[in-house]
Symmetry: C2
């Protein structure tokens, strides 16, 4: 018997689903110091199978969160892809082999797919979250959500499956990271999935192989004339994942009951002939039907209920996009929720979540439909599809349209554009001469980063002091910083032992809302920290010398920047570029005004 | 009351002292599958102070052991050194600033000092050791060692300080890693420390500073005309270590009772004037008197009792050499003990321990005496001392003389020489296209590595098949491999969960005594693994393409190697080069014989 209960607990955000998307969200909220509860209907975390590949951009995200180490240590890395084909005339042979993420097309700092089963990724996020006092409430199935009249609070009910009781949480926000069959989605009006479901079906097998196939440790696309297509993915712990195509068109749909592991293995053996293919162990078997669908809405009009991850988009697993896109959905949402919850930004900021992530979802399903077609067609179609989409597949090329947070996109032709991710670059920290990656160095503390590219510091000092005056206490920016300081003083993130090593205060001593940074081509001997305006003196850990990379970071971001110019880049808390501009040395005042304008949504 | 007991336990190796040297030894022995007990008289591990800097070579060693991650994540990194000086005429000012480990002089892959207190380093080794079932026996003070007549076994007694009982362990080997006042050393005839003790004394302070001194995050050598010299070392957790010179000559020796923290702090303030210098917190304070001494013997003539680390050499702390050299002592000893204990090498192998490490100890104390003098003298003396010794300081330049394990040193002028460490180089693994560091890629499993540099694989196939025939079952090398296989089958290392990810079998499938590897400039499309001789097919994880580094790894190691040549490098289990030779393509037989000759001590 299930008994209905009164409100059991109050929190700020309820996350439903502790897969990659839900954990990425809850973990980031915990880091920002937001109260969060995360529910999952499973009794334990994922132990085998499911998603298995982190794309270059996602690896970068884990590095930025300082959580990449265990994955980098234990996962397999795919740097190349090879193509094999058999026809009625020619037996199975390698028709090509190429770098998966060529530097000239992608430019990722980790140009590979990192292969590890979903549970390893979840564990990293869970461990971090738990160190901050947030634990997954397991065996808890989301049931319903209603809005209290008056307060506007949400009453969220779930079934505690162990005690078979219904419990209620009162919260301000609800986020459904509960997969393709999302139950939370039903509580967002007009949010149904739209798109095609084909009948193309695939079987997936994880296991240790016994084979004489030579390309076992590359990603391999096989097209056989007798038994469809196969995708090989090398895995951690000596495993290989095989995606085995069971049918590709409507008429041929394979009965789910027929698509057993044994059937899939035999089909793979047939396709791989004359190579020998057996399984020493099988860790996981699954099968799925391909479709490309996206939810019509990612949130309700009150900006309180959201969906992220598979709840918002589904597609094939061939290009290893699902878990990656899902985590970036919630990575996008987390910092926005933090700012709104703290009263540091207007609730309308949350509307950019749907604008930005639904755009990516459409990009994804469009790409995926083409990718699946190309996969079945021929090498040249697949190669072309790869070349056209490789930046997107890597995650590095997922870009947002012009909007409130991404200003003046493409008004000037520059390598770096608003709406895009920072281009990786290596610079030297002034203060301790450590070479660092500019895109990784400043920890993600929920703050915006404002980079001043000042080719010549002695020349640029006038500009810098004018602009830094505009960050003072009396200014609009100063008011923002002071409100942020108060908010984080009142509701600080839980201190964790790793903070002692990370020293987050190094990045927030000038402001809790912004980290100021400077990148210069001046030599270290040309200026002392004490020569700089106070806001930059207080930012001494984020002064960089542009003297290690080729081309220089300045050139990578701006193309060219004259010594009589200053470049300003606003980077959002999620690493996306919000605005990029160049100014003459006398334009400090108007440049400061432009920065203020950008942050109007916070004022 | 202390009661004498009969033999309580038997083991193979007893290590006395769980500092860096003892832990490095016990950890490696545990990894090789050797029974080991490690005793320490302290009740717990080091929590503050003591040694604090890992040099580039030591960082490499931890990387090779796959243990570097926690240190790299949490420690501070020193890339530069700055020099400050005051005279009667000129107030304190910066007189120079330079890269600490310039690439052209050192060429380390981690060209910095990694600063973390000794306890963090110990913890990494302890965690790994404990995962392999070896725990430090704490509060246990070594008392004595005697040899059983007949068996030749050692009876080692220690005081269990908790129960105040004397316990006895029977073992084959005893290693004293018990510091400068080593008690084990007393059981090695004629092993007393020899050398000078000056009266120069220094105070050492770890804490968080409040200062306006701008170079706080560099290593800084300060020479003041009023209050002696100071060495600044940036540390993890926002700390700084100051070494403060209290006196430099005999006559001026400061009374230990006078050398309080307060006295040291005041002296530092005086020296740093006009900069402001206060301590927000003090974590550790110590002081020491400088001397340069080395033990006359590092082992007894029965090759059963050894000393390592400070027990064998003491010197100043200025160049951060102590813990580093100590760990390399035991890193050198560990694999030799493993081979002898397994009966895979003659006991005389152990004699090379003293030959090699005592040479380094002398190099160290000679350098240190000069370094201390230069430190007190002037900038140009110190700069010259640095330039002359920087490879040695980094650990990269610690080299062994010609000997049984280091053949034909300097007979031919090549960048890489026997007795030296591998030169770091980046190559691509053939099998999975992963770029890897050649000096890190093959895990340390106690095996020798034999690298074939074959510029042109199709041309070199004849040579390779001749030489690989010599590794077959019937050959001398094959016999060695087969004895190794039996030994490790009988007494395997404890399996640990990380093995599942590391897959040690990938590196020992051809032989448990040797990992064969190949480095080639041929393209991946020019040959398939199946084209290679069986020993190399079985070594498929250690076939490398020399296509990423500039200059190429081949050129870094050999200078030049013609396409009609094959280069062979034998790398010892500790990463030192044992032999390096080049051969014509028709000389496979004699090259094979040369390899056999090298391994005579194992036959």
């Amino acid at each position: 018997m299930i008994a209905k209960m009164a409100v059991d607990v109050s929190t700020t955000v309820v996350v439903v689903g502790a897969g990659p998307s839900g954990l990425m969200l809850a973990c980031n909220l915990a880091r920002f110091g937001v109260d969060v509860r995360i529910l999952d209907d499973r009794p334990d975390k994922t132990s085998t199978g499911k998603a298995d590949g982190l794309q270059p951009k996602t690896i970068e995200t884990f590095r930025q969160m300082r959580l990449a180490d265990p994955l980098l240590r234990n996962a397999a890395r795919v740097y190349d892809i090879s193509f094999w084909q058999s026809t009625a005339e020619i037996p199975l042979r390698r028709t090509g082999r190429q770098t998966h993420y060529p530097d000239n097309l992608v430019g990722a700092s980790d140009p590979y797919i990192l292969l590890a089963h979903q549970g390893m990724v979840e564990e990293v996020l869970i461990d971090d979250m738990e160190s901050r006092g947030v634990f997954v409430t397991r065996s808890s199935r989301f049931v319903s959500c209603s809005r209290e009249s008056g307060t506007g609070k949400l009453n969220i009910t779930y079934e505690d499956m162990s005690s078979k009781t219904i419990k209620t949480i009162r919260a301000d926000y609800l986020v459904g990271c509960d997969g393709a069959r999302s139950k939370v989605r039903e509580f967002i009006p007009d949010a149904q999935l739209e798109g095609e479901t084909t009948n193309a079906s695939w079987g997936v097998l994880d296991g240790v192989l016994d084979t004489n196939f030579p390309d076992l440790w590359s990603k391999v696309a096989v097209r056989s004339h007798v038994a469809g297509s196969i995708l090989w993915i090398p895995r951690e712990r000596n495993m290989t994942r095989l995606y085995v195509q069971l049918s590709e068109t409507d008429g041929e749909r394979v009965e789910r009951s027929k698509a057993t592991a044994e059937y899939v293995m035999q089909r793979a053996r047939d396709a791989m002939y004359p190579f020998h293919l057996e399984w020493k162990t099988i860790e996981w078997f699954g099968n799925y039907v391909v479709g490309q669908r996206a939810a019509k809405h990612f949130m309700d009009s009150d900006l309180q209920i959201f969906i992220a991850g598979d709840a918002g988009h589904c597609h094939s697993a061939l290009a290893a996009q699902g878990a990656n896109t899902s985590m970036h959905d919630s990575f996008n949402l987390a910092w926005k929720l933090n700012l709104v919850i703290r009263g540091l930004a207007a609730p309308s900021l949350l509307a950019t979540y749907e604008e930005e992530r639904q755009k990516i979802a459409y990009d994804l399903i469009n790409f995926d439909a083409e990718h699946c077609k190309a996969f079945s067609k021929d090498d040249s179609a697949l190669t072309k599809n790869f070349d056209d989409n490789i930046r997107f597949i890597s995650g590095v090329g997922a870009e947002y349209s012009e909007g409130m947070l991404t200003r003046n996109r493409h008004t000037i032709l520059r390598p770096l554009q608003s709406g895009a991710l920072q281009i990786p670059g290596r610079v030297t920290r002034y203060i301790d001469a450590n070479p660092v990656d500019i895109q990784l160095d400043i920890p993600l503390l929920g703050q915006f980063r404002i980079y001043f590219f000042v080719p010549d510091v002695p020349k640029g000092l006038g500009f810098l002091s004018v602009i830094c005056e505009g960050f003072g206490n009396a200014s609009a920016m100063g008011t923002l910083s002071s409100r942020a300081r108060q908010s984080y003083a009142k509701k600080p993130p839980t201190a964790v032992p790793s903070d002692e090593f990370l020293q987050p205060l190094r990045y927030t001593s000038a402001s809790r809302a912004f980290t100021y940074a400077m990148v210069t081509q001046s030599c270290r001997s040309e200026f002392e920290i004490i020569d700089l305006p106070k806001a930059l003196q207080d930012s001494r850990w984020t002064l960089y010398l542009d003297n290690v990379d080729t081309p220089r970071c300045t050139d990578k971001w701006f193309g060219t920047l004259q010594r009589e110019q200053v470049g300003i880049v606003i980077v959002r808390p999620d690493g996306y570029v919000g605005a990029i501009d160049t100014w003459g040395l006398t334009e400090g005042k108007v440049a400061g005004k432009r920065i203020e304008d950008y942050f109007a949504f916070m004022m």
